[in-house]
Symmetry: D2
Subunit: 449 residues, 4 copies
């Protein structure tokens, strides 16, 4: 896990969850729980359970031999079962007969993957909580800090930085709700035997399954889901939605960090974002990593969806396509989340620069405020046209909009100079921004209770 | 909607939901509800509300002029607002001043799209219910009909056709649950004005929003979501998961329809699936359509996810990328669902052929039954090896597995001929199949209550 | 073609190429050419050729009936053949016997699609030439116009606008080269009969194919390619690469159009980019359209690639997935190209603003120039560290870099004030920019000869 | 490289090409060549060249420290340059001043990646040649071996296994041609300095670039291509097309391996494709691996295309998204190629079973032969209808088509019994199959000369 780019794109704990050894241990946890469950249900001798379980420790296995066996079998479970059987046999030949009892390779692989996924979801929830807290703090702190709202990359009307943070928080909370709803559907065992009937367990199949699920802390589904992959594909989509939201937040940060805008910056760290060629630069490193994830994950989600059309009782190629794809989605999403939480926790916000940028258009950004004020008298369209004309003049003559408007007789008649001043002050044109922030924070508080 | 391929890939009602006129009407429904809501909240004169609403009928608009205006404005709402204003002005010049009051183009476009989506979800739910009913009937009817379970396209052990149908039903019910959970998150208004503050409505913004939502039967979100697209992207993912499940079912049908397998067939219809070159063929038309959707939709979902990283307060290109993508996902998913419901309702199941195919391997398909029976005595591994050897001999000598097994002394000692016969009868090796079917049907019944 | 959003995302001529009628005519062109070719090769009676060809006109067909027949047959060729046969029979019963002689539905569908693709490639080449000419003009005109080079959205070192244009031109020329290389591989007939053997034509198959290809102006491939889809998938990838390049150029324009940067603007047009809420805005409409295409096309390309794993001699669902996907790629790429060519032909470049933005960092953007000048004496690392320190001081004290540098004894010793002034003038730090522009223009000229 | 799943999905040599150390060495090769080139061009002192180059060996670097530095810098080149400078300084302080002279991080990263890609393309070409040879042998050997052609998974008309192999070979040769055409566009240096002007090299930029390219055996492009990514994206698409073709071939093999078809099998190997539950099974392992790649690679290609819209002079997130994606495409494509070459080299073809399956429909598969023979007399449509009717009767009465046809007076009149027999023998209905095989082999031979 000491890869050159891993620490950049992925988090350490998540890498541990999806390391090869953890993948192996996931399958072994299945085998151990199965042995104990089968023993308890009377499907295998009582003492075979603990005897088998005792050998289900990843560190006892030779990874190179397993990898070689995987190539032959076409999956990593078959050589694991063989090796486990040999291990158990060394200590207890009769127990070795009952290794993997009633199960098929897919049962071990899928249940192991679900166990890894559970650990991954826990990590993601923890970092999402951290990010949500940082966003909530920003929403509250900057709820009255005006800045330019920008649509299609152009200044539109003023907003507040708190509103921007609240929008991000609100979206993040929706992702957290999806993650909660996902759990009962995906945190289930896979247990069906060769083709999903548990036939080799005779009448004890369901009882073994129930005990197996209980032992692993997973739910027992109505029936095996070998070739119906919506459960794991859903996990991919929910993480895809979360990654998309992270990408949106990161893009905003990167755009605000532009030299010409400079309204926010990722927190500084010794040497962070250093350019090898330009001594004065500080690059948006966290945002870049998050955006890289947001560029890659949607396609990986499409792989999981494409892979759903699995043949009959077990897929051919499409199931195998999942093995590294769902982990990679977790890794990239988790890495992006860690980077973004870090960036948001230390985000440097430049309220002065925000205010200065609001003045950049010499009042044009408040054109709507003026046309809205005129509309009840003149009608929305006429008011719009009149102000648009003034804007064009202000632009071409490089003068403040206020001065141009003041010269327009139709406007002079309707708006006194003080009114015009008030209309052209951004803090007077923030509408429901603060209320929206309060609603988002209240909704969040409600959910936390 | 008379496109050459539309009727093949899409359903008529869904095409109506996403026709250009319906898109326009969706935006007009927003404008009508906004006018009434603003009037009610006192944001515009009382009588302007109905005056504006009266003109909000798509048939009053010139589609060619709107299309031309759309190119200039870069979105379809701006020319719609202009045309609506002109229409209202013809009858009531003063009301015309209040058209689109407080809103921005995106408010009309997004809310209109949500209204279309609601209609689409209703259609999908109706067809999903139909498909679920057909699958439930099959699950019940064929719960004891044995057939070959196939993994990696090879015969594995027997299952029942009922179990296969139950697996599909169970997956479909999960998609229906997701569709229910999705609704409160996506069936919401979009209403924020120029940059999400509702500033031009002054203190009345939230009240207008509340009335607007009530009028449209949508929820009012905590705040506008202009550039946070997880709501609509989630709709795409949920439909993507459903399409994947449909594709899986269709692929099974197509595989069962193979000349060499022939266990099921799409219902016949006069001229259906006719080949222009081969008079004897009947092609799996419905399955092909569903699989085409399952090939396309995952990528369209990735577009919706990729498009989530929208810039600041309104996206540049990525928002526009959604406009035709989400409708297309609905259309393809809906078309696939209609085709598949039809196919399943009339599916021809050939239980005789299923039975015959079970005998194709001269007993090999029940090898696991024998090795399972031997395992308690011989150990799983030894039993497996012994039976594998017998299988290889049966294969090379083209003899029934039963005969080869009967010659093997170690087996003869443990299994009497009648036992061997019973072990090699597929109906005795169906494990929990029937119980699984019952569990799926019970879970479904529980949900229906 | 009168769709609400079509004129926004697609070009008129390209819509005509892919209209339903053109799709039908493509198949009919195949049938006409086949009839004449078969007659010429003696496979059918001499007079049947022109008799059949005479009815191969799309306007003679009932589109509604064809659409209905398409649903039954699962493809549009079968009902077309039926209808054509009936049409021919009205005038010449004996000729009607020879309609579609030796062919299968896929032959008509694929060859028709290739004919449409050829028309699409012609349109794309024409607009690509237009765009290339506009970029070449910009490259030449602005080859000495300095502006800030920006990496990771931050000012880095100066470049010229001509260099930026040349980079775009160079990439576009590579796409044009790919389009040329693609033609011989994709502009081929599809002709194999039921399963690719042309068996029903007996010994005349190849001769008919040769005459057919000659008539359509297509090449005859070594053998039919029914289920090998790399030819059409390659067309998708080449257009995908082109669309990516268009998206890159559009994103640069949109970024340069930002209120805070303002260095370039899409050409103005009456009402273009008008905001319904903000009178002063002019949105980057063309760039948004191009970026929407660049968001969608990559996923559509992945559909074409995913669809390549077609079953045996004809695909099941994956072939059908191509039918609307390749046209959509052409439409979106073509639309983006038209918008971008238009934008580039009238692009408003603000050289003054470019110069002003170069001064925004008070000299920081030329930090590298200084450290490069110091490096031979001090070593790259020491020079870098020294200048970085000065940059930080200039930033925190809000002073020009020049003044801070001048105070640094180590620097003062090595650089005279005039040297410092020269180093800090952007026009003196443009390196090979002009030479690069010349190389790109020369390469282009070389290719045009 | 000792990963659990790596040996399954990837080949050993390709893993070596893309190992972290190789990535580092790629960048170091750039630095070494740059130092020598700069020295030669007089940009840095003569002796600095070899002094720097001597330290450019990956084994001298601490991977953990590099990984840590990568997180801070946001890219792996910056810490590499720092570490290299320190290494050089230990031996030659003055040479250390000239490390990375004139270059930017992206120059090292991109050029290093191109060097890795060149090695990858060499490996792929070698395995593609191997696969092509195997396919050519099959095409020749089985050019007269009849089997059922299958369209939409149903038997259509006879083909030969040689024709199937020739189709695959022909597609593969097209991919090889694309790989050749790709090389001059992608095997180029990246060298532009901070923003693509080589400004810090003053007038020597181009000369250094030329020497650098010569040293690395790469071409010097007209200008740097920092943010124009079509070169590397094209590599992705070309490998995507190849992977699609591999997937198509693998799917055919898997379908032919079905228990009920059994016409071909992957070569046996001790323990290969062993099922943990079913002793009699031999799973299509190679095909599954290839199909897994064909499921994943299209989405990865879409990442490369999506990532093309890079901002200004260096991308933000999208460039970073390429770093692991292009290698992964090479790895998966290379792994699939190796598996498929192996499978094809040892493919077990069961010509007897092919013949037996042709008889499965009791003659229906030759229905077209009969209707083609009747068409000149009766007309295509009447003949088709007549034979279709006979087919239906043969099906429902479970009788040979021959017997039913013989009873039909209209047919009896036109076709003598011997004629009927000849028509219904598959070997007489293979059309141009053998000629097509010859054309494909000839085209290949022509190219090899």
């Amino acid at each position: 896990m000491a890869g050159l780019l891993d620490p950049l794109f992925r988090s350490g704990p998540m890498c541990a969850v999806f390391a090869d050894r953890a993948r192996l241990q996931g399958m072994l946890d299945f085998e151990a729980a199965l042995a104990r469950a089968a023993a308890r249900a009377g499907a295998i001798p009582q003492r075979a359970g603990p005897a088998i379980a005792a050998s289900c420790r990843a560190e006892l296995f030779d990874p190179v031999a397993l990898a070689r066996g995987t190539v032959l079998a076409g999956n990593p479970a078959a050589p694991m079962v063989q090796a486990l059987t040999a291990l158990v046999a060394k200590k207890n030949a009769s127990a070795a007969r009952y290794v993997h009892w009633g199960a098929t390779s897919q049962d071990a692989i899928d249940t192991g993957a679900v166990l890894q996924l559970r650990a991954a979801l826990d990590l993601i929830e923890a970092d999402a909580r951290r990010l949500a807290a940082a966003l909530a703090r920003s929403a509250r702190k900057y709820r009255r800090t005006p800045m330019a709202g920008r649509t299609l990359l152009q200044q539109a009307v003023p907003i507040t930085f708190g509103l921007k943070a609240a929008g991000a928080l609100n979206a993040l909370e929706r992702s957290r709700a999806r993650l909660r709803e996902l759990r009962p559907r995906v945190l289930v065992i896979q247990f069906g035997g060769a083709a999903g009937t548990l036939a080799s367990l005779g009448p004890r199949g369901l009882a073994v399954g129930q005990a197996l699920a209980a032992r692993l802390g997973l739910r027992q589904p109505a029936m095996p889901w070998h070739a119906h992959r919506d459960r794991v594909a859903e996990a991919a989509t929910v993480l895809g939605l979360l990654t998309g939201t992270l990408g949106k937040i990161a893009k905003d940060i990167a755009l605000l960090m532009q030299t010409e805008i400079g309204e926010a910056r990722e927190p500084a760290a010794q040497g962070k974002g250093r350019s090898s060629a330009m001594p004065h630069k500080r690059n948006p490193v966290d945002a870049a990593i998050v955006l890289a994830a947001a560029t890659k994950v949607p396609a990986l989600v499409s792989v999981m969806l494409s892979a759903m059309t699995q043949e009959q009782e077990r897929g051919l190629g499409n199931w195998q396509a999942e093995w590294e794809t769902l982990p990679e989605i977790c890794l990239l999403c988790g890495g992006a989340l860690e980077h973004l939480a870090q960036a948001l926790e230390g985000l440097e916000v430049d309220a002065q620069r925000m205010r200065a940028n609001l003045d950049l258009t010499r009042g044009l950004i408040l054109a709507e405020a003026v046309s809205s004020a005129l509309a009840p008298e003149l009608g929305r369209d006429t008011a719009h046209a009149l102000v648009e004309q003034a804007c064009r003049r202000a632009l071409s003559e490089e003068r403040p909009l206020r001065d141009v408007l003041a010269e327009e007789p139709k406007i002079e008649r309707l708006l006194a100079p003080e009114q015009l001043d008030r209309l052209l002050d951004p803090v007077n044109y923030l509408g429901a921004a603060e209320k929206f922030v309060a609603r988002v924070l209240a909704a969040r508080a409600g959910r936390k209770k």
